[in-house]
Symmetry: C2
Subunit: 234 residues, 2 copies
């Protein structure tokens, strides 16, 4: 049962694709990266970003490699979502697609994409109409992202090292796609005690100025290592 059946080898030309749902956050709203398909069908011209697994490469390695090829750097949170057996029958071969999602900060450099890749950032409503997604992969990715966001650190990479609570709240609102109460948000997020108030204010947003905070990553990692699961109520 455990061994590979005889005559199984080389009979099946599986191709292992890695598809990406890449979210981008630009201090305003959540965007999604899609690439133009090399397809003749006009109705299905946009698709998720895709790459292929190489021999002797782990899935996570391949995911990181492909992501870097697209974005030029590797600072993103990658998370495996699900595996599908036939999202695409191109050229008649059997493609297994392992879907990952990533979320990155849309700084100026990230907005530049490789020229050979015909891809574009869309807002979420826009893309749902343009993309061929019978499995609702995007919805699943959003749901998974929202769930994960409640364990704090995903979002941290979406903001500068120092940030105001208002910025942090805006980020959560973009991910969760709903407005949050200011007072309650502050109480909740500060009660976790992973944010540290700095001695500096951001005066660009208001007359009064908002205190900068930073995320204590060491403290967070210690908690994780000790098996403590942080949950913030949003």
């Amino acid at each position: 049962m455990n061994a590979i059946p005889s005559n199984y080898s080389n009979q099946i030309p599986f191709h292992i694709a890695i598809d990406f749902v890449i979210f981008g956050y630009d201090e305003e709203e959540l965007k999604l990266l899609a690439a133009k398909r090399q397809s003749t069908d006009d109705h299905q011209q946009w698709s998720l970003i895709r790459g292929f697994l190489f021999k002797n490469e782990h899935l996570e390695q391949a995911a990181a490699r492909i992501f870097k090829e697209i974005m030029g750097h590797s600072s993103a949170h990658l998370e495996q979502l699900h595996t599908y057996s036939n999202p695409d029958y191109e050229s008649g071969t059997y493609i297994i697609s392992v879907v990952y999602y990533a979320i990155i900060r849309l700084s100026d450099q990230n907005k530049k994409l490789p020229k050979d890749l015909d891809a574009k950032w869309f807002n979420l409503k826009e893309i749902q109409e343009l993309i061929f997604d019978p499995e609702n992969i995007i919805d699943k990715a959003i749901q998974d992202l929202q769930e994960h966001a409640k364990t704090i650190p995903i979002g941290i990479t979406l903001l500068p090292d120092k940030f105001t609570l208002t910025q942090l709240q805006a980020m959560y609102e973009a991910i969760l796609q709903k407005k949050l109460d200011r007072g309650n948000f502050r109480k909740n997020i500060l009660s976790v005690e992973l944010l540290e108030k700095l001695d500096e204010k951001d005066k660009t947003g208001s007359r009064k100025g908002a205190w900068y905070y930073s995320f204590n990553e060491n403290k967070f990692n210690n908690l994780i290592d000790n098996g403590v699961l942080i949950k913030i109520s949003l």
Copy 2:
């Protein structure tokens, strides 16, 4: 980017394995099915149940087929967990392993396993020591199962068509691995209004007798179809 790279075809002999974490519930505790490995290493002699994907077969089809080959029937809730790139390098080929988990009722017939399959039911503590599981697949499966159990219907297949609330509670306690308060459990489970009290009592458990209940599957499916997510607090 989207097309399969030229010269990619047939270069990589991937094997797509489907590994199963199969939970069994026998009205008492949660068990796990493991098979004897055909390995020379004594320390790693038990492993998850494994099968392989055939050509032109969907992942879900393959999972159902393999499950049926093992258990003799197909009445189980199957759920995809995660995909790993090298849980096993047997015979030097590259195995991609898609892990599913299933949970079934350990009735008398289910306890009988195919003779050609050298497998056994273990309790959870036991197996964690005997199995080679560097990725903590089993823990992940348990967590996922516990999370899913809160949306009710998984557990229903683990009980007869009519069951007492005490039986139901025992099932949840087995899955969640903790004791629940009787009064609170009843209030919660009945507040969902998917259980219907029958006119019959089970007198085997107590002098007083406990009312039988049945699960209203139609009502549940209607709710699901309308996008209503049921959550019970346990």
